[in-house]
């Protein structure tokens, strides 16, 4: 009798198979492995589904989940409402347990869903082409930097300090090995945006790309048009966007972006401690052959029927090997399909409403905090659904400890990543924060600060 639900072999089958192969026992199949390697795994014995489920439920309960608190923390991962339909569909076995669509005839579900995803990203970003996903926002930025260098052969990347700190670190890690220089551009201390004048001084013939957040880490909408105007025709403008914001704010492609990347988690994906997220990547048509990642295209079958296939695979590692545009192989296809389902369900109006409600709440909270003793807005630039204030009287860490007692996940503490901002905090609201949660927060802040 077999011993494991995932391993079907019975004793009798094993014996028949060994006999057929012509060996006496399983050991013979490992004869080519030198015995010097023999060892005994030091792990617990197998257990059962019931006990594993029980243990993991206990561990899950040891965490505080976002549905139990009022969430005012964003900083790259956002708490939006995820309609029930999303997981009901995305968890269908045919999506969940399929491989990369190497056989397009039996992968039309994957391929069409990703083709639709690409179209949606193209619509959001205002660029002609998008790939079918990257790992996350950070690696998408890093790959955009590498792509820029491939496109124009220059060797310096200017990255806004107002961009997410982790994105900057990852970009530096990626660029470092290829000896690409990465330099940061300061933000204006009053507006919280990249200062065009400052950027201008840093531009030269070595600059391959300028990387800007939209909105940036402080929630502020950078003026892409002004930035673009400063760049020579070879320098690429790489924009790192929050996809939700793009229903309200002008498409970066329209404002001159050459590459738009970002974190697609807000599009129906769970926060999941930040992983798996969803990197998205769009660019101009002329650069498509320099773009990393898998791309899906429309095709006709022998009967003239429309279908979808992976295209431009000669860019990819499995064909091009050491000359590939990137080493990316497994991507985040499932998260991309989740995003496609989310965008299909929310649609044009729904996504805009999510953005609008997030925006409205943040601006209300901002105006209320502006009038609060001991709290001071730091930046005057226009913002989406996040903003920075400085706090007096106690540290943001202490403040957050107090708020947590009231089931509030307070703002992101900035001092560690931005010591120049002192005791400051990044607040975020989304449509999933209720007005009553905001009033409750305000009440607690009045008490604490």
């Amino acid at each position: 009798m077999s011993r494991f639900p995932y391993i079907p072999h019975t004793e009798s089958e094993i014996n028949k198979m060994l006999e057929f192969i012509g060996v006496k026992n399983i050991g013979e199949l490992f004869n080519d492995v030198p015995h010097v390697f023999d060892f005994e795994l030091k792990l617990p014995d197998s257990t059962d589904e019931f006990s594993v489920m029980r243990e993991l439920k206990t561990l899950a309960h040891e965490n505080l989940n976002l549905n139990e608190v009022a969430v005012f923390r964003g900083a790259g991962i956002y708490y939006h409402y995820i309609p029930s339909v999303i997981n009901a569909l995305a968890s269908r076995g045919e999506f969940l347990t399929a491989y990369t669509p190497y056989q397009p005839e039996v992968s039309q579900g994957t391929l069409q869903a990703l083709f639709e995803f690409q179209t949606m990203i193209s619509e959001l970003t205002g660029l002609e082409v998008a790939n079918s996903s990257m790992y996350d926002g950070a690696t998408a930025v890093a790959e955009a930097a590498l792509m820029a260098v491939r496109v124009n052969g220059r060797n310096k990347i200017l990255i806004a300090r107002s961009l997410h700190p982790e994105y900057r670190v990852v970009t530096k890690t990626y660029c470092h090995s290829q000896n690409i220089i990465v330099e940061e551009i300061e933000y204006s201390k009053d507006k919280g945006q990249v200062e065009p004048e400052h950027l201008k001084n840093r531009l030269d013939d070595d600059v391959s790309a300028v990387i800007i957040g939209y909105p940036n880490y402080f929630g502020i909408v950078e003026d892409l048009q002004k930035i673009k105007a400063l760049l020579d025709e070879k320098t690429l403008l790489v924009v790192v966007a929050n996809p939700i914001a793009l229903s309200i704010f002008e498409a970066p492609g329209i404002l001159g972006a050459d590459i738009v990347v970002g974190e697609g988690q807000p599009l129906g994906n769970h926060p999941s401690l930040g992983g798996p997220g969803l990197g998205f990547f769009a660019t101009r048509e002329k650069y498509v052959r320099k773009m990393p990642g898998r791309i899906i295209g429309e095709a006709k079958d022998v009967d003239g029927k429309t279908g979808y296939v992976m295209v431009l695979q000669t860019r990819e590692q499995h064909i091009r090997r050491k000359k590939a545009t990137s080493n990316i192989c497994s991507n985040h296809a499932h998260n991309a399909v989740i995003a496609a389902i989310y965008m299909s369900l929310m649609g044009k109006e729904g996504l805009k409403e999510v953005a609008l409600r997030s925006y409205d709440k943040a601006h209300y909270l901002f105006s209320q905090l502006s009038n609060m003793e001991g709290v001071k807005p730091l930046f005057s630039g226009p913002f989406f659904h996040e903003f920075v204030v400085s706090v007096e009287g106690l540290t943001v860490g202490e403040l957050n400890n107090e708020l947590l007692k009231h089931k509030i996940l307070g703002p992101m503490e900035l001092e560690k990543d931005f010591p120049e901002l002192g005791n400051s905090a990044l607040f975020c609201t989304t449509e999933a924060v209720r007005n009553e949660d905001i009033e409750f927060l305000l009440g607690r802040l009045e008490e604490i600060i």
């Binding site: 309960h61 976002l66 923390r73 990703l114 296809a333």
Partner: protein, 482 residues
């Protein structure tokens, strides 16, 4: 029909809280040119439209849940539903990466334990769970190699040796980390040619990337000699863990002398492939490289679990946050379920299945190399091409008509008309028999009427697609017809 063609202006599939807005869409602070003029053309559908559309799309996919999926080097084993249920618990799915560590102790325990369990399984000393996929793990590993030699001042080590049988990601990752790739030819047995290797090894070689068993499913039995050669030369040995499913509980890369390893949790540890991802590619290292791992690393002290950013020699970060946590969780549950006995048995049955199928199929299509294989094996389809004019691709497409997924084709590159087959341990003898019978039927068809194969498939949602034109004149997004 795409979802865009099902859209009707003004239709609605969502509902949002009806709270009053504080300021009805006031954008007074925003410069006009930054406000969107033409909103993104996303589809407008009712909820049932969306449900039907994606239900229908899903039904056009073949998946492990539909049947045998013997893609070589992909380890398409069964993905337990238990793990999906666990990953969907709110206490795991609704967590913010910047929550205080006191509020995510359950998560950190999972990560800490998994780091240790993977170290035990592979014989390494320390693990990072940060990389998002196998290739991402390779890159991480190569960055560690790079940093290691930077710290040692051996900056002349600019090259990485990769066998010609390696996965495409190996050279791509090495290149991406700034190395030059030296490809060495395998010997006539499909193994690393020790003479070629010796000749290539000099003080410019930073690392050798190997997978063992290799992509031919063959165990590199000279691995200790290779390891000795490498280390004597001051070169690091990198292990591509894509093929770990063959050897769990039998032999450990760490014991073979490897310095760095990545694993594919979505292969060996059964987290689903999700149409191509998300995966997870943890990287393990020996003690001397531990300080170079990306930050943060999960550690335990008297106060509980915490995220340690204090690694002065770290390569930095290879992605945001801490890894694909929900994927990691599924691997954790899988290891818990199987335990030491189950993991070992899984490898044994994977190898048994591969050898059983190899012997069965060898009568129809010759194997590219003789002898016992590990978890996968490669057949040489060139005989079919010569005798019947049938390409491996034709055979693959014909399999689709029989409701089966084809093996990996045209890889590894060193075999002509390669058919690379990895059955995995979760397939039963019946399924292997049925697959072999179908191959026999198709080879018979090839003999009698090769046109049947050349025009296959016939019964799939679409038939053979013109991939060449699709790449030459790419249509990469839907557009409304004018």
């Amino acid at each position: 029909m795409t979802i865009f063609e099902k859209s009707v202006k003004g239709r609605k599939g969502y509902s949002l809280p009806k709270e009053e807005l504080h300021s009805e869409a006031s954008f007074s602070g925003i410069p006009g040119h930054l406000l969107r003029k033409d909103p993104p053309e996303l589809p407008e559908c009712s909820e049932v439209d969306v449900v039907r559309h994606y239900t229908e799309l899903s039904r056009k996919n073949y998946s492990v849940d539909n049947g045998f999926y013997p893609l070589g080097s992909c380890t398409m084993k069964y993905n337990p539903r238990l793990n999906e249920e666990i990953a969907s618990l709110e206490g795991f799915s609704y967590l913010h990466p910047y929550q205080p560590v006191e509020t995510i102790q359950g998560v950190l325990e999972v990560m800490y334990d998994l780091q240790n369990m993977l170290a035990e399984i592979t014989g390494m000393d320390a693990f990072t769970l940060q990389p998002a996929a196998g290739a991402h793990g390779e890159l991480t590993g190569m960055l560690i190699v790079k940093k290691y030699f930077e710290l040692r001042g051996e900056t002349q080590r600019k090259k990485v040796i990769v066998p010609d049988s390696a996965h495409g990601t190996n050279p791509a990752s090495a290149t991406m980390a700034g190395f030059e790739v030296v490809e060495i030819a395998s010997n006539e047995s499909g193994l690393v040619d020790l003479d070629n290797l010796r000749a290539a090894l000099d003080d410019t070689i930073a690392a050798i990337m190997l997978t063992n068993p290799n992509t031919l499913g063959l165990f590199e039995k000279d691995i200790l000699e290779i390891s000795e050669m490498a280390h004597k030369n001051g070169t690091l040995l990198y292990y591509d863990g894509a093929n770990l499913n063959a050897i769990m509980g039998h032999v450990r890369p760490g014991d073979m002398g490897f310095d760095i390893i990545h694993l594919n949790l979505h292969k060996t540890f059964s987290t689903p492939h999700g149409m191509g991802g998300p995966g997870s590619g943890p990287v393990g290292v020996k003690k001397h490289l531990e300080g170079l791992l990306p930050v943060p690393v999960v550690r335990l002290n008297n106060d509980g679990y915490y995220l340690d950013y204090d690694l002065p020699n770290t390569i930095g970060k290879v992605r945001s946050f801490y890894g694909n946590f929900r994927v990691i969780l599924k691997a954790y549950a899988y290891i818990k379920m199987l335990g030491k006995d189950g993991l070992k048995l899984a490898s044994e049955m994977a190898v048994l299945n591969a050898n059983y199928l190899r012997v069965k199929l060898s009568k129809l299509i010759p194997p590219s190399y003789p002898g016992t294989c590990k978890h996968e094996f490669v057949l040489d389809g060139s005989k079919l091409l010569k005798e019947y004019g049938i390409k491996t691709l034709d055979l693959a497409k014909r399999l689709l008509d029989y409701g089966l997924h084809p093996p990996t084709v045209y890889f590894p590159l060193i075999v002509h008309e390669a058919l690379m087959i990895e059955p995995t341990e979760t397939e039963s003898k019946d399924n292997l028999d049925k697959f072999a019978e179908t191959i026999e039927k198709i080879v018979e068809e090839a003999r009698k009427d090769p046109e049947i194969l050349k025009n296959a498939p016939y019964t799939t949602p679409v038939r053979r697609l013109d991939e060449t034109t699709a790449s030459r004149k790419p249509i990469l997004r839907w557009r409304r017809e004018k």
